[in-house]
Symmetry: C2
Subunit: 195 residues, 2 copies
């Protein structure tokens, strides 16, 4: 019978990030992660299929937040406004611990091709979940896909700035600035520019 | 000393796709692929690091075609027009064999999470190469990123239609139609829609 382990997922994520940061992703084993978290390997595998997935533990939760915020947006919101509300809701959900985790995770991804691929897939999965939530509001598929991509891109840009040492602006402020920048950029797609 | 093997890369790609289609991606080994291609494992590893990369052999070549076409576009072209010229150039480069390969590859990707991640990474890599080529033309980074994403997305949509059985339109025709659709979609990002 499974014992109830308080915060097992969070403890495993924290242990995995710390161990991988200290000794490298390749060198870290599931047994070490479970041990550092004060849990068993069996408990680890109840939560995650392997050591890589523990690093991307947030994906389903982030998709859920985006989809729920999109469903809750005012009916008259444009596709971009709807997506903006969703990524701001996602930004609001991030804590100082997410910031510390993010710093470690981004450094790990930069050093490992397998994690780069997994990160690209996470980006695509979040955009897909966002696009589907927009389509459920009758936004045409092509517009939904582009709006979703723009939103996820804005969030990732803001997140990358937020985890930089010395950044004082909040993730919400950075996300809004990034959304404004990309919203303007979208209006320039078919405009001539001064070379 | 390495013997010169005519068309070794192409033979390895063909062998890999055929074997993986017949017996599954997981079950297929590098030794079998090399053998089917009439080559040695040593030759395989001169061209590809593993059996997965042989399936994505086109990535570098596609990035090169996109970047060169962007560099060659007229100075007055808008970002979207520049990207459109590039993905049309990419479409022109595809042969009937690419179509047969694409059919097999898309089916393999649909059945394997590791290949899904690799495909997401290829999409991101092509978009990155495209964005960098646009930035070299002084397109601002945010606009370049969105235009690149739109172009790569249009190409992939067109490609997915092209490999459907019974499709009679050419890849170029489908790519232009997809570009038009996404170009229109981009103008709707901030527009209210009838619900």
């Amino acid at each position: 019978m499974a014992r109830w382990e308080p915060n097992a997922r969070l403890r495993l994520v924290r242990a995995a990030l710390e161990l991988c940061t200290d000794q490298g992703y390749e060198a870290t084993t599931v047994a070490e992660i479970a041990d550092r978290a004060g849990l068993t390997k069996t408990t680890f595998f109840r939560h995650f299929p392997d050591k890589r997935e523990v690093l991307f533990a947030g994906q389903d939760e982030h998709s859920r937040i985006l989809a729920e915020a999109i469903a809750a947006a005012p009916a008259e919101a444009t596709p971009i406004e709807t997506v903006a509300a969703a990524v701001v809701a996602l930004a609001v959900s991030f804590t100082d611990e997410n910031r510390a985790f993010g710093r470690m995770l981004i450094a790990l991804i930069a050093a490992n091709d397998d994690l780069k691929e997994r990160a690209a897939y996470k980006h695509a999965s979040l955009a897909q979940a966002t696009a589907e939530a927009l389509e459920a509001r009758k936004v045409p598929a092509a517009t939904a896909g582009l709006a979703a991509e723009l939103g996820v891109r804005a969030f990732h840009e803001a997140f990358a700035q937020w985890i930089e040492p010395g950044t004082e602006r909040s993730l919400v402020t950075l996300t809004n600035a990034s959304l404004d920048r990309l919203r303007t950029a979208a209006t320039m797609l078919d405009a001539s520019h001064a070379g």
